[in-house]
């Protein structure tokens, strides 16, 4: 790197680097489009629960298509594991590698991950990868699992295709083990389309600009990302920052909180995120693997240091050190149950933002609902008599407020990024459901100088008998505020069975409950935490919140100390001043 370069060489570096940067982003975007458009299950095509990416021959991330933040690390680790397994010599053109091993991806068995080694004129030049969430991989239907063996089919690292020849034995094994084989096969085809798209387009780049030149440009991109992340890290005051929160329970020991304790050490231009003190792995299926522990740290670090630096690549994380102890809920070891891996890590990320409150109040954010808020349903379709599996949700919740802004309402949780909800019209056309309401939750945003975003609620009625499973957490540890801001409303689930309302569940977990026609479930996603003392919120902002129905008249007075004329909804300045005087 230090050798002198000619002017032309330097110019070529800067220009080609930018051309390759745009190029790899375009490749992963096209992979994403093709996967989304050809996939068979709503989790992929509507919810966009997948990740596509390009990797170096060593398995380092070059570019990840917009997808799941919590999977920021998942594919890189999987590619590296596959490389270790086969060795570079064990790979040949036409190979496609696969696994859904939970302890490799760090997540659940639904995540089938395909990797295609890209050979340019016989030389290994990178990998095109695609992880997507399948509807079903067998295993226990509903309920809570307590080990990996009950969660479905496990595929170790093997070749789906060897030198262009598909392993039909593997396909047959999969078909036999999953509940809806045609969907699984459709998703598999879509994923193959995605990795082949990645291969084709990356090869075009290599042909156009030369293999060594492109790989050098990729190193430049990573170096640039590293420079940016280090520079931004330097602006964070040195120090040790800690925070704590908790999960409701693990779904087995109801009511026993699971503590989440994090520690951040910032020194110079490097940051260490220590997650060794988060709770030990639990019996219920809320565990995730080491890969996800790394993801938690990387997501928080990227949000704080280089949020809009694209493509998402390895360089952004060279200044980050992660400490994990084996056997925690984000570094679980076999045979920990992993099916609902995604919930706890979001609270870990939220807690990291909490830890940074004192250091960088202008860059951090109050807590959010931190859950996908999904109700899984299954049953026999009255239309065609066939078994179906589906999810109600994800639902939008409230994001936390910041130093200078209210939080977003009705937005998907941190685990997910470009994840969409399902149109009600689509759900009702496909499944025997009737949605009674899909609405914002007034007063769910935490009060503050800036208010947390509002959560939403969905009330859904069964039109024919169905089974439901809900695994929602963060009922009791409501999304906290920062700098004196109040908490938002927590997540909540209620049922209506035989005309009777059941609103006193101990948590938001409902396992294999039968809903008969007319019965209903209501899932409420929490609101975000507030930022700053509520009494410092401009009265006019509070009045507008009341006019829009985001905040009730009562809450305006009680939480914000703002008194409004109930008829005109204008601020009663005198009464407000008086009320606000009382509190410091």
């Amino acid at each position: 790197m230090k050798r002198m370069k000619s002017k032309k060489q330097r110019q070529a570096d800067a220009v080609l680097t930018e051309i390759v940067r745009n190029g790899v982003i375009a490749v992963t975007e096209e992979m994403k489009t093709n996967l989304m458009r050809t996939a068979y299950n709503m989790i992929i095509y509507e919810a966009l629960d997948f990740t596509v990416g390009l990797y170096t021959p060593e398995g380092e991330t070059i570019s990840i298509g917009l997808g799941l933040p919590s999977f920021i690390r998942g594919m890189a680790e999987t590619v590296k594991a596959k490389l270790r397994h086969f060795g570079e010599k064990g790979l040949e053109p036409g190979d496609i590698l696969v696994t859904n091993d939970a302890y490799t991806t760090g997540s659940h068995l639904y995540h089938f991950t395909f990797s295609l080694p890209i050979f340019h004129r016989g030389k290994l030049s990178g990998f095109a990868c695609c992880m997507a969430h399948w509807t079903d991989v067998g295993g226990v239907l509903g309920g809570v699992t307590t080990d990996i063996y009950s969660e479905g089919l496990q595929i170790p690292i093997i070749k789906y295709a060897r030198a262009g020849v598909v392993n039909q034995d593997l396909v047959d094994i999969i078909r036999m083990n999953v509940r809806i084989p045609e969907r699984a096969m459709g998703d598999l085809r879509a994923q193959i389309t995605a990795v082949k798209t990645g291969e084709r387009r990356f090869l075009e780049l290599l042909d156009r600009y030369g293999r060594d030149e492109v790989l050098a440009a990729i190193r430049n991109i990573m170096d640039q990302s590293e420079v940016a992340a280090r520079a931004r890290t330097r602006t964070i005051p040195d120090g040790v920052y800690e925070a704590e929160s908790f999960m409701d329970d693990d779904g087995v020991e109801i009511g026993k909180p699971v503590p989440i304790k994090v520690r951040v050490v910032k020194q110079g231009e490097e940051m260490t995120i220590d997650l060794s003190q988060v709770a030990k792995q639990v019996r219920g299926f809320y565990n995730s693997g080491t890969t996800t522990g790394y993801s938690c740290a990387q997501v928080a670090y990227k949000c704080l240091t280089s949020p809009t630096d694209y493509p998402i690549n390895e360089g952004s994380f060279r200044s980050l050190k992660v400490v994990l102890a084996p056997g925690t809920v984000v570094s679980a070891v076999k045979p920990a149950a992993m099916r609902w891996w995604m919930t706890f890590p979001m609270t870990v990320v939220d807690t990291l933002f909490k830890a940074m409150e004192k250091a960088i109040p202008d860059r951090t954010i109050a807590a959010h609902h931190a859950d996908l808020c999904v109700a899984l349903i299954n049953g026999i379709s009255p239309k065609d008599g066939r078994f179906f599996l589906a999810g109600i949700g994800p639902m939008g919740g409230g994001f936390g407020a910041k130093l200078t802004e209210d939080g977003n309402s009705a937005t998907v949780c941190m685990n997910d990024g470009d994840t969409h909800n399902h149109p009600v019209e689509q759900m009702e056309a496909k499944y025997p459901l009737l949605f009674e309401r899909h609405a914002l939750r007034p007063d769910s945003g935490g009060a503050g100088r800036y208010r947390g975003g509002l959560g939403t609620e969905q009330a859904v009625q069964a039109r024919s008998p169905i089974n439901i499973n809900v695994q929602v957490d963060r009922v009791h540890c409501a999304p906290w505020g920062l700098a004196g801001g109040a908490s938002g409303a927590g997540n909540q689930v209620t049922l209506r069975l035989g005309g009777k309302e059941i609103a006193d569940l101990p948590n938001a977990k409902v396992l294999m409950k039968r809903l008969n026609p007319g019965d209903a479930i209501t899932v409420r996603a929490g609101g975000g935490g507030g930022f700053g003392p509520p009494h410092e919120r401009e009265p006019e902002r509070v009045a507008n919140d009341v006019r829009q129905g985001y905040v009730s008249l009562t809450a305006a007075a009680e939480s914000y100390g703002v008194v409004l004329d109930p008829r005109t909804l204008e601020v009663d300045q005198a009464a407000t001043a008086k009320r606000r005087e009382k509190k410091p």
Binding site: N22, Y40, G186, R189, A231, A410, G417, N421, V424
Partner: protein, 698 residues
Amino acid sequence: MAFPEKRINHKTRLAADIGGTFTDVAAFDEGSGRLLLGKSLSTPARLVDGVTNGVEKAAVRYADASAFLHGSTIAINTLLERSGAKTALVTTEGFRDVYEIGRINRPDSYNLYFRKHVPLVPRALCFEVRERMTAEGAVHIPLDEASVLAVCERLKAEGVDAVAIMLLHCYVNPVHEARVKAIVQRELPRAFVSASHELSQEYREFERCSTVAANAYIGPGVSEYVRAMDEHLKHSGFGGSFLLVQSTGGLYESHQAQSQCVRMLESGPAAGVIGAQALCRQLGLADAVAFDMGGTTAKAGVIYRGEALTSGVALIGGYAQALPVQIPMMDIFEVGTGGGSLAAVNASGALRVGPQSAGAEPGPACYGRGGELPTVTDANLVLGRLGARRFLGGEMTLDMAAAEGAIRDKIAGPLGVDLVHAADGILRIATTAMAYAVKAVSTERGLDAAAFALIAYGGAGPLHASSIAREIGMERVIVPRVPGHFCAFGMLFSDLRYDLVRTWFTRLADVSFDAIHALYEELIGQGRKALAASGIRPQRVTIQRAADMRYVGQEHPVTVHLPADVFRRRDAEALKHQFDEEHLRRYGTNARGEPAEIVSLRATVAGVLKKPPLERVARGAREPVASARRGTRKVYFAELGKAVATPTFAREALRSRNAIAGPAVIEEHASTTVLLPGDRMRVDEFGNLAIEVGRRAA
């Protein structure tokens, strides 16, 4: 460019395209077969004036025109600038927040300061009425008219100007929606009232809600604008048909435009693609990419087998904060690269070009209006591709020293390279970014771009076309005769067009051709009715049928165009086969063994209008006449690695059959065409520059 000495008869077709900066007028005089052009500055305060100025510049009289064809940015600007009417939304009980909740995605996933879309209707103006349809279109809760009247009282008290109505499942059964609309119209006779099923009969409540809200929001202003234009035309002695361009590039009658305003959102860009399509027909080309580059963006559309491809939904205002509009639109892909795109070296030492733009003010450094940051235009000037004294026909002189200073200080210095390499680097990055727009509508659709012609227009399109073609491996570039007026020109070739879509979930295995037939007849009947209501008698009526299909279990359907005989033969296997093939073409894979289903049926009813023949230009020899030669200047070409003396030509002096080999520069009033070394250009009989692109250097 032909400016006539005398005015002719009343057989003129007149087209006016209002853009952000300029209003372009194109007129075709059927009597003489001549094309007349005018360009004037747009007049935002009173857009009509800009049109009238342009018409005068083209030396046409409204009274001589049989048809006035019009595209305008008023609809899109009202939306983007948030300057529309006070609008209320009426929805099914329990669903008034559908619009604000949206699709909940957070594409800018790591940005804690991310902001989601902001609805056009505040929550305080979202109301609910008691009713409910099921997904099958059965009444689950009958419409409670008292609840509608109660909402109307609130609407009156709020003094709203526009009302959007979106009820669940109205795409299957619109009875409730139609009834709510009738009541609201009766109770608020002065309000602009719009019901979602009139615009979109496809499922997805948020998207349909956003569509109808946009229509209502821009409705009062846009319909008033169309009315005013109509009146102005009548006062000016115009007695012909007043037609507006829709986002599909098709025309609709001005009264229809006054209620379905949202259909004209992208009229200008769509008309450009129609112009490219007309050019293809004239030249016997089946496949082309229409490429339009202006000051802030570059746009690409595609003509495949003679047809301009459309899509069913557009996201207005960028992906992250998009307000979706779920109606057929020209399939146009846009990138933030234009002549004014800023180049910068960031703190990490990376060179970036766009999407920030210098805009019209201050503009590129070389405009000499205080802009200090280098742009794509500055790079073109520094490399000699633009002539400092030839910009806009010499009406504006570019400041070379300012361009050089900006690139030297902001790019060359920080990167440690010389001026020329810095400028060339800016262009290379811009070229690849624009090449992605072209690929997005071609290779990413499964089309082989290399076999397509690139039709380049807009002020900056012809400057970059040859480089982009090389980047993609396209062999043929066509620079039409009037690249700076091409959207107005395209309007002259547009037809009346009505697009009807209806969601109708049916497995192919269970398909009843009687039911399909009945549905198509209904859709086509609606189209014919709209056509008749336009009061214009077309030369003939064409009908195209298509179906959105997918494999059972898939979500996103593929639109498959279906020849009429598939239905005559009642051939379900042919339906499936066409779908399998389309899926393979678009995604490189299909599943012939898997069952498929229909999601929506589409019908397009077009009233074909008489097309002007393209004007032929005078014939010349192979060698351009001496007066076409303007001299030479030094132009840098990366292909040669140096600047070489390059001949420049005046486009207006070129004749058909003239041939020029690159490197060369061809200048005209509002545009400059660059021929790279190895390119061979020949002027065709219509005055287009037909460029055979030289091979890309290895």
